[in-house]
C-alpha cells in the first residue's frame, strides 16, 4: 500500500538548471509533508517541510509546492549544484506531532557538471 509515491526513480539535471522532484500521495489525512536528502552510507537529512495550510514554502535554493486538491507536492532546487546529487525522499504525516513518517521510494538526482 504505497501511500506516498515518487514515480521517477532517477533524474539528471545540468548544473545551474532547475531540478524538479515530484511526489504524490493518496491518504487525504496527511497534513504535513517533508523532504529529506540522503547520501550513500548516511541517514536521511531534513531539507524542507510544508504544512497543508500552505501551498508554498521557500528556503534558499529549495522551494516546496503543495497542491492539496491534486494530492501532489514538488521540490524545486534552483540553481542545481553538483553537491545536490543524492537520493531525495518525500515523507508525510497525518498531523504535526504524529510519530510516524511515511516515506516515498525516493528519486536519485544526478547533477551533471
Amino acid at each position: 500500500d504505497q501511500q506516498v509515491k515518487q514515480n521517477s526513480p532517477s533524474l539528471s539535471v545540468q548544473e545551474g538548471r532547475i531540478s524538479i522532484l515530484n511526489c504524490d500521495y493518496t491518504n487525504s489525512m496527511f497534513d504535513y509533508f517533508l523532504w529529506y536528502k540522503k547520501y550513500p552510507a548516511e541517514g536521511p537529512t531534513f531539507l524542507i517541510s510544508i504544512s497543508s495550510i500552505k501551498d508554498k514554502n521557500e528556503d534558499g535554493r529549495f522551494t516546496v509546492f503543495l497542491n492539496k486538491s491534486a494530492k501532489h507536492l514538488s521540490l524545486h532546487i534552483v540553481p542545481s549544484q553538483p553537491g545536490d546529487s543524492a537520493v531525495y525522499f518525500c515523507a508525510a504525516v497525518p498531523n504535526f506531532g504524529n510519530e510516524k513518517l511515511t516515506f516515498g521510494t525516493g528519486t536519485r538526482l544526478t547533477i551533471i557538471p
Binding site: 552510507a41 537529512t45 504525516v93 516515506f103
Partner: protein, 115 residues
C-alpha cells in the same frame, strides 16, 4: 552539530541468531525511533519510543523485535531470531517535538546482513 550515533555500521549474522543494534541519540531529545530501508525500497517506520515505552509500532515490528533504553543514553533495537528478510539498513532517529522539521535527526545507519 549534535549527532545520532549508530553502532555497528555493518553487522553480518546467521539466520536465527539474535542481534542488537545500538544507537546513542542526541542528549536532550526525548523521542526515539527506528526505521529501516530494504535495499532499493522506501524507508519504513518500525517503532517510536517515548517516556520509556513504545508509543507506536508498525506491523513490521512483530514479537521478534524489541526496543530498550537500558541506561538513559543508549537506545537499542533487538531482533530475537533473525530472518533473511531482516537484511536492511536500520536507521535510528531522535527527535524533539515542535520544530519545523520534527526535530528528527537520523543516524548513519547499521547495515544488517542475514546469511
Amino acid at each position: 552539530e549534535p549527532e545520532v550515533t549508530q553502532t555497528p555500521s555493518h553487522q553480518v549474522t546467521q539466520m536465527g541468531q539474535e542481534v542488537i543494534l545500538r544507537c546513542v541519540p542526541i542528549s536532550n531529545h526525548l523521542y526515539f525511533y527506528w526505521y529501516r530501508q530494504i535495499l532499493g525500497q522506501k524507508v519504513e517506520f518500525l517503532v517510536s519510543f517515548y517516556n520509556n515505552e513504545i508509543s507506536e509500532k508498525s506491523e513490521i515490528f512483530d514479537d521478534q523485535f524489541s526496543v530498550e533504553r537500558p541506561d538513559g543514553s543508549n537506545f537499542t533495537l533487538k531482533i530475537r531470531s533473525t530472518k533473511l528478510e531482516d537484511s536492511a539498513m536500520y536507521f535510528c532517529a531522535s527527535g524533539a517535538r515542535g520544530s519545523s522539521n520534527y526535530g528528527y535527526t537520523f543516524g548513519s545507519g547499521t547495515r544488517l546482513t542475514v546469511v
